[in-house]
């Protein structure tokens, strides 16, 4: 299961960092013409490998997509349910940063996401110790 979730299957850290940077640029290019749904979908694709640097680089990109969301309910309605669990994990990562604006946005998303996805989503993000972000 962990192998199937491995990001792109490459072992080289530099390669993965480059791919994550490309992903970040793609997310930015989707945010500018106001396409937050596509930005979020790109951001939530795949899990970063266990390396801290890669995770941090990946988080930066996802954070940009999360902060660009204005209509939380609309985004969640159009988002595929398979992404709910990954989104919840990123929301908790955002809440742990302590930065006021990030926390405000993440609290809003958390409330709406819990209403949509239920408590099981929260529990899966707590219980998943293998695929951490």
């Amino acid at each position: 299961m962990a192998e199937a979730e491995k990001f792109m299957g490459s072992d080289n850290v530099e390669d993965i960092l480059t791919k994550i940077e490309n992903k970040s640029l793609k997310i930015e290019s989707l945010i500018k013409p106001y396409k937050p749904i596509e930005a979020i979908k790109t951001a939530l694709e795949g899990y970063p490998p266990q390396d801290e640097q890669c995770k941090f680089a990946n988080w930066i990109g996802v954070r940009k997509a999360l902060m660009a969301i204005k209509d939380v309910v609309g985004i969640l309605r159009s988002l595929n349910p398979q992404y709910y669990d990954i989104l919840m994990k990123y929301v908790y990562r955002g809440l742990s940063t302590g930065d006021r604006t990030t926390c405000d946005q993440c609290l809003k998303i958390h409330e709406k996401l819990t209403e949509k996805a239920g408590f099981g989503c929260i529990l899966r993000s707590l219980a998943d110790t293998v695929n951490t972000i």
Partner: protein, 168 residues
């Protein structure tokens, strides 16, 4: 301001609702012992990911869960030196009387002001919903209490100073 407080408390309530699924689990290392696994942290398979929920730079809540216990640590808002001292004294007063609260921890976790330890035995005796209501209510009341204490200290200080300076 009030809306972020509401969202913050809702988030904590939802997380506790999901995380407080405790069952009896005897100690794996020592026979005939039953210890709260969240405190010992000896077996990683018994622990869930700890979750840190921050409202801003000053206020946060750490929720650590394991199979038979959950530990909730709070850091309350302290705007200035006076609130710092009042919060420390008031929460120390409560922590010293942890026996009466049952779910309170005698010493807060490093970096936080107050901690709760809820075990499966508490969940069997007490209702889970009421426990969660208690914790959320506690968080609301703490802020009010400290504001009231600060106001009474300022009022007393002002009265004393006025009386004292009347003689000059």
């Amino acid at each position: 301001m009030a809306s972020t407080l509401r969202l913050y408390l809702t988030c904590i309530r939802n997380t506790l609702e999901a995380a407080m699924c405790l069952q009896n689990f005897p100690c794996q290392e020592v026979e005939r012992h039953n210890k709260p696994e969240v405190e010992l942290k000896t077996s990683p398979e018994l622990l869930l990911n700890p979750v840190l929920i921050c409202r801003n730079e000053a206020e946060k809540c750490l929720i650590e869960t394991s199979i038979n216990s959950i530990r909730i640590s709070l850091k309350v808002k302290q705007a200035d030196e006076l609130e710092n001292i009042l919060a420390k004294k008031f929460l120390r007063f409560l922590s010293m009387r942890a026996e009466a609260f049952q779910v309170l921890r005698r010493k807060p976790v490093q970096g936080y002001d107050i901690s709760f330890l809820i075990t499966n035995y508490h969940c069997e005796e007490l209702q889970k919903q009421k426990l969660i209501d208690f914790i959320v209510q506690f968080m609301e009341d703490i802020d009010k209490e400290i504001s009231e204490l600060k106001m009474s200290v300022s009022t007393r200080g002002r009265l004393v100073a006025t009386e004292f300076l009347k003689q000059f």
